[in-house]
């Protein structure tokens, strides 16, 4: 494979390496990550896992010109922090960029760790020699905050984790949810207008019989770039629910990699991607079924009024994972000629008694539905808005979550729809 060959670096790749070095590269872990970044460069369209998100070219547009690194660094440092209300009232807020520990609800311990992010962490879900997001994260010196939820603990209000609010940042966290516990987490990704990407890598372990809802609310400024990754291990009879809402950012890739760690686990991934202007949004997921009798459902709904949307979904079923029931759907509404959407829903199946399926659709608003509403006196713009709202709200409903959380998500979606129509 030619990927490992040394080749001349693009200006953007050089700029990124220099930026990482300028931020400090004393520790071994960072040095090794910077070396990996220097050696491998950024993935491009001929790298299968990044086929639709040519990071080398996209970064080239942001960092490729004669922009001095000092200017980029200065811009990051100059950003001001804004006050942000939690997504759901009453949440415990943890700022991942700060090293001090936050006060935690009973049964939960939150400690900011000085451990550096390690890009060698296994497994490597995309089967590449380096996992680009983890390499960038480690090269820029992300530290891993630790959150632990004790066995059997249940708490209603979410723990909200923030990173990069108001500044370009690289964060990491490791969350352990004990057996039988029940918890909700909100990952807030906001702010930041730097040409260089911010990044976040999280590791989540869901204990046996535990139930976790993880919400990712990505609403960065339109000029910002972000690389995010969530790695989840789901224990026996555990339930992992995820909701990803992408409603901002200029160049965003979020990877979700889940693997089962016991029989009877359930994974439910839901997501809404709202695209406008010249955004580039990429959601890449892999689900690995390695134990029998596990179920997974995955639904992503995309509304495109501009920009480039990408969905890559992979379901892998190992030989021993008999009776797996996995379904994946990716539905896209194309509302404008200025946008496009590419989907790659993949299946890799080695067990013979499974039910796996995927569906992908792309198209404009159904003319019959529109006609139905208009014939009842609803003007076209409102009728369209109603249909778009119904299209995305459905995904929130499927999450079957508490009212407060569902309302908060719907409110965010509504605000975007209002803005873009």
């Amino acid at each position: 494979m030619s990927v490992t060959e040394l080749r001349p670096r693009t200006p953007a790749e050089t700029a990124l390496v220099n930026l990482a070095e300028a931020a400090g590269a004393d520790e071994d872990a960072r040095r090794s990550a910077i070396e990996a970044l220097r050696r491998e460069g950024l993935p491009h369209r001929r790298v299968e896992a990044w086929h639709y998100t040519d990071l080398r070219a996209l970064m080239g547009r942001r960092l490729g010109k004669d922009q001095a690194i000092e200017a980029i660094a200065a811009k990051e440092a100059g950003s001001t922090e804004s006050v942000l209300a939690p997504l759901v009232a009453g949440s415990t807020v943890v700022d991942l960029d700060r090293s001090e520990a936050a006060s935690a609800p009973t049964g939960v311990s939150i400690s900011a760790s000085d451990d550096l992010a390690d890009w060698h962490e296994t497994p490597n879900h995309l089967d590449r020699p380096v996992d680009t997001i983890r390499v960038v994260n480690a090269a820029f010196g992300a530290r891993i905050a630790k959150i632990a939820v004790a066995e059997g603990t249940e708490f209603a209000s979410p723990i909200e984790m923030r990173s990069g609010i108001g500044a370009q940042s690289h964060a990491g966290c490791s969350v352990e949810v004990g057996n039988g516990a029940k918890a909700t987490f909100v990952e807030r990704i906001e702010g930041g207008g730097s040409p260089a990407p911010s990044s976040g890598v999280s590791y989540l372990t869901v204990g046996d019989g535990a139930e976790v809802l993880w919400i990712i609310d990505q609403a960065k400024d339109s000029g910002a770039a972000h690389l995010g990754q969530l790695n989840v291990t789901v224990g026996a009879d555990a339930t992992f629910k995820l909701f990803l809402l992408n409603s901002g950012g200029g160049l965003v890739r979020y990877e979700i990699h889940a693997v089962t760690a016991g029989e009877g686990s359930e994974i439910r991934l839901r997501g809404v991607n709202l695209l406008e202007n010249d955004q580039h949004l990429d959601v890449t997921t892999t689900l690995r079924h390695t134990y029998p009798n596990t179920t997974a459902t995955e639904t992503f709904r995309n509304v495109v009024t501009g920009g480039h949307g990408v969905f890559q979904g992979m379901i892998k079923v190992a030989r021993e994972a008999q009776k797996t029931d996995a379904k994946m759907a990716c539905n896209t509404l194309l509302l404008s000629q200025d946008g496009d959407f590419s989907a790659k829903p993949e299946l890799e199946i080695f067990a013979d008694d499974v039910q796996c399926g995927h569906g992908a659709t792309a198209g404009e608003i159904n003319a019959d539905h529109l006609f139905y509403l208009m014939s009842r006196g609803i003007p076209a713009p409102q009728a369209k808005a109603l249909l778009v709202k119904a299209f995305v709200d459905e995904v929130v409903e499927e999450l079957e979550t508490e009212d407060a959380i569902a309302e908060a998500l719907v409110a965010k979606i509504d605000a975007w729809l209002e803005r873009s129509h």
Binding site: M1, S2, E48, H51, R319, T332, L334, L335, S336, Q337, G339, D340, F341, S342, A343, K344, P345, E346, L347, E348, I349, F350, A351, D352, D353, V354, Q355, C356, G357, H358, G359, A360, T361, A362, G363, E364
Partner: protein
Amino acid sequence: MPAVQETIDQVRQIDVDQYKYGFETLIEMDVAPKGLNEDIIRLISTKKGEPEWMLNWRLEAFERWKTMESPDWARVDYPPIDYQDIHYYAAPKSMSGPASLDEVDPEILRTYEKLGIPLKEQEILAGVRKADEPSQLDDDSGTPPAEGGYGNRVAVDAVFDSVSVATTFKKELQKAGVIFMPISEAIREHPELVKKYLGSVVPASDNFFATLNSAVFTDGSFVYVPKGVRCPMELSTYFRINERNTGQFERTLIIADEGSYVSYLEGCTAPQRDENQLHAAVVELIALDDAEIKYSTVQNWYPGDKDGKGGIYNFVTKRGDCRGKNSRISWTQVETGSAITWKYPSCILRGDNSRGEFYSIAVSNGRQQIDSGTKMLHLGKNTTSRIISKGISAGNSNNTYRGQVMANRKAVNARNFTQCDSLLIGNDCGAHTVPYIEAKNATAQFEHEATTSKISDDQLFYCMQRGIPEEEAVALIVNGFVKDVIQQLPMEFAVEAQKLIGISLEGSVG
């Protein structure tokens, strides 16, 4: 749901150790020395009596090929191929080019008979000639066919290693204005057509294997159907690899001029050998305004034994160009052979209102690896495409569907329906699906479905209303349009294909 017994039995019947066509024909061959270099290309070109421009085209492709790397993105695994350890030309010694069947070595004719492709008996089989009547192949004057007599006949071009040994019904096709001949002959006799269309769909620089083919292709079929002509019979090419250590590099070029129609079938087999043999073909289809091309393949190259020893490496580039408005290209494939299949018959839907179809049944057994699918590239307005793919894996095999559907910005109202189901038999095989769906146009409607209920609600409703259970109804409908083509295959093929068609859809995974 696991596969039902009926399906398991049917797949077993075509398992790798049941390969029927593994015999070898012992016959004196004229073989070029092993290796690939300019001299070999010049030799091939000279043997074929090619004009200068063709040789230059080959040499240019060869220069290009030397700079290319073999692709590694497919889910197939094989040791590196030594391209210098292959004979690039092998031809039966007894003939330089067949003028009529009588000149063909009887040994070769017997080979084809064993394979179920009786070149002479074709006519009798089709019922247009009694056994005691003179064959039209022998007799130039030929009696004009009875009314409707064309219907069931198949004109065959038989390719034995590097040369075409026989083309049947040539005279009659000529009367209709249809040109059907080995491509090596077409280069000499119709250079203007070949020059105009060769490489216009699959450029010489397209991909590693296509470029290799462009440099060293030896034979294949050439078809030209003139304006407004409905080709009076099925055309067919039968490929046979016989010689040891040879590669087969055939090139097929089919042009359907405005308002014409042609249906074409290819079949392939090879002897049972311990070593792997390379087959890198290129097929180009061109459909002009209102033309239709149906292309069917029954691929049954030797798949190797149950431990994965031997077998054909089948690296094929097939592409159809719906160049004219309202044109239509349909690919149907039944893939059961080859150790490795790397094949993506595609349609470029350039003309407005053009239509592309891809129907595939791929069965893998033993240690076979199949990575196959299609590309539907919507460029023109109101273009439609349909993809139906059924993959069945058994033994230790891996069966991958890889397909791309793309609607360009200008492809207003593009429409695609894709369904790809796979079925696993046993717990040592794998079934994989890798679709790429790219919508760049808001009016494009793409549906990629694994659910069987979406085929056509109307058809389904019709069947179910008459008391056919849903699953049977679905099978009936899916098999309906595959059968459409398969029923027109030569008898021996049809029997084998029918076995596959009978396979239940029960337990399919998406």
